[in-house]
């Protein structure tokens, strides 16, 4: 079971990373980041079967932090929407150089 779980989380993490790099919608990118975080959670849970509780404790911390990050991130996305009327990163290009 351990090898399969680790492989699955590696696949999920890669899907998330590819999504971040290829998509241009801020909300979709944020969802891909969340997918990456949850893939890591799966790794921790799978490993805690071998090493004991620490992995599961870590998962609780990661979920808490991800919730805080989501609150701040969605607020920032709303702020940019108010300025630009879009959350597509292709149209967010004031800063260049």
């Amino acid at each position: 079971m351990l090898a399969e779980s680790l492989a699955l989380s590696a696949v999920l993490f890669s899907i998330g990373a590819i999504g971040v790099l290829t998509r241009r919608n801020a909300i979709v990118i944020f969802m891909c980041v969340e997918l990456m975080l949850n893939a890591v959670n799966l790794t921790f849970v799978a490993l805690s079967k071998v090493y004991g509780m620490a992995g599961q404790v870590f998962v609780i911390f990661v979920m808490t932090v991800a919730a805080a990050e989501a609150a701040v991130g969605l607020a920032i996305i709303i702020a940019i929407f108010r300025h630009k009327q879009t959350v597509n990163l292709e149209n967010i290009n004031l800063l260049k150089g």
Partner: protein, 516 residues
């Protein structure tokens, strides 16, 4: 005074400075919500934040003076590396809050919570410097980053500020995911998140060849590379630094980077020194690419904030050279460098705040032309900061010594880094092209007749600029106290692995003074 951090009481005692800072920040948060937002309230909360910073600094200094030390083990470190890093963060925090009080007044940002968020970010940094467990490092990084995401977008009326915030947030969260996956794989390979246990396990079972550990180290390297803005993970830096409010840019360039570096160094030296031969080459290339790219691209910049962004990337490369050395001398050179860099960078951003026009419209290098005639003291201070960043002797003060110690550490390591040291010297020469350009414009180029009149700078900003410039020059002339403190503040590898060169070389006491 020995502290046993494995007991709850000892752990609380070891975290007293962090707890003071957090408690102060929470009280200030209530105070900032107590009254409606206004310019005077913003100022009063800012003064309160300065007081909290000073009290925390006093607590840290008390710990340094008491010689508190913890036994190995536990999840937080009580060593002088931590206190030295804390003092660097608190210095940057003090300057950032002081200049943002004046900046907010000028820009009309009536947001007293800015100062509170800076304090929360600083408490995250202090946790990072103390952390001896990957779990604590993750929490420290997130506590710091989430506060700084908000700070980058604090000027809500500015589209640039919002854009900086979203770019910083998306790439910051992306890099956090890499960091976290790296932690998970290291946990999988060694069975622990504690750095001391990881260090022992890696050395004892010779895990240097374990693919899971190597993948974990590689992912951690990517995550930290993003956080310290090392090329090729630096893409976000110029945009975010340009768009964020100027005092916050300085805070990010100095304190956030220093905190990420402190954790980076501790993880690498305490956790992975047993696998030195495996990661050495990767960090080597990271340092080389960062130095070259940061310095060369900075030459083309016209906007001063972008220029300093690339300069900060270049300095990441210089600091990485100290990490590649992997010795105690490298680790003390690392702290000394971060101190000098923090003073010079915060000083330079304070000058930008002092001379800025409302709306941040006036940030090109050319807008500094004729500064020597209008504001001779401001021009002199900016010259000191630029020359300190360049590493010029005497006038550049400790900037020169910082580069000198890094070079010395790189050349005296058991595996001397001749190529990297050569590259450091060459790229420093390149960096003269843009630092001296700023100085030349200030002294030699007349100010155009139609340029807007310069506004008077705030009192606090002036005091901070003067103090930073004087400190840089004075400590450059009398570096013994601070160099001695940096030499005692080394992160020790926990293992006796034969592959770890950190065991063998110790900087001789007399060698530090040779820099003068």
């Amino acid at each position: 005074m020995p502290i046993d951090v494995t007991l709850p009481g000892g752990l609380t005692l070891a975290l007293v400075p962090d707890l003071i800072l957090m408690a102060g920040a929470m009280v200030l948060m209530l105070w900032s919500a107590w009254r409606p937002d206004s310019a005077s309230h913003q100022r009063s909360v800012g003064i309160g934040a300065l007081v909290v910073t000073l009290i925390t600094t006093a607590a840290v200094i008390w710990f340094v003076a008491s010689g508190a030390a913890a036994k190995q083990g536990g999840i937080v470190a009580v060593d002088s590396f931590r206190w030295a890093a804390d003092l660097i963060f608190l210095l940057a925090t003090f300057i950032a809050i002081a200049i943002s009080i004046d900046y907010n007044t000028r820009e009309g940002i009536d947001a007293p919570e800015l100062h509170v968020l800076v304090l929360f970010a600083t408490s995250g940094m202090m946790i990072l410097a103390a952390a001896r467990d990957l779990m604590i490092i993750f929490l420290g990084i997130e506590l710091m980053s989430i506060a700084v995401y908000v700070l980058a977008g604090l000027n809500r009326r500015s589209a640039r500020s919002a854009e900086a915030a979203i770019k910083y947030f998306l790439l910051g969260a992306f890099s956090t995911a890499f960091l976290l996956y790296g932690i998970a794989l290291v946990y999988g390979a060694t069975g622990s998140t504690n750095l001391a246990v990881i260090g022992e396990t890696v050395a004892k079972y010779r895990l240097g060849d374990s693919p899971m550990l190597l993948a974990g180290i590689a992912l951690l390297l990517v995550g930290f590379g993003f956080k310290v803005a090392a090329a090729p993970f630096h893409m976000w830096t110029p945009d975010v630094y340009e768009g964020a409010p100027t005092p916050i840019t300085g805070y990010m360039a100095a304190a956030v980077k220093a905190a990420a570096f402190a954790a980076f160094l501790r993880v690498w030296i305490e956790g992975f020194s047993g696998a030195y031969l495996r990661w050495h080459l990767a960090v080597w290339w990271l340092a080389a690419i960062t130095m070259v790219l940061g310095n060369v691209v900075a030459l083309a910049q016209q906007n001063l904030k972008r220029l300093l962004a690339y300069s900060s990337i270049a300095h990441s490369g210089f600091v990485l050279v100290a990490l590649v050395a992997g010795t105690p001398a490298g680790s003390s050179a690392f702290l000394f460098y971060l101190f000098a860099y923090t003073l010079a960078t915060m000083g330079a951003f304070a000058v930008i705040v002092a001379l800025g026009q409302p709306g941040e419209s006036d940030l090109t290098i050319d807008s500094y032309s004729g500064l020597w005639n209008d504001r001779p003291w401001m021009a002199a201070a900016m010259t000191v900061f630029m020359l300190a960043l360049l590493g010029f002797p005497i006038v550049g003060g400790i900037g020169f010594l910082a580069k000198w110690y890094v070079l010395q550490a790189a050349l005296q390591a058991p595996a001397p880094q001749f190529k990297l040291a050569t590259l450091l010297v060459i790229t420093t020469t390149i960096s003269a092209g843009y630092y001296l350009q700023v100085v030349r414009v200030m002294y030699m180029k007349p100010r155009p007749a139609n340029a807007p009149a310069r506004l008077p700078a705030g009192r606090l900003t002036q005091i901070v600029i003067g103090a930073a410039a004087i400190l840089i020059v004075a400590l450059g002339l009398f570096p013994d106290s601070i160099a001695g403190f940096a030499q005692r503040s080394v992160a020790q590898p926990t293992t006796t692995a034969p592959a770890a060169p950190g065991r063998m070389a110790v900087m001789s006491p007399g060698s530090a003074g040779a820099g003068r």
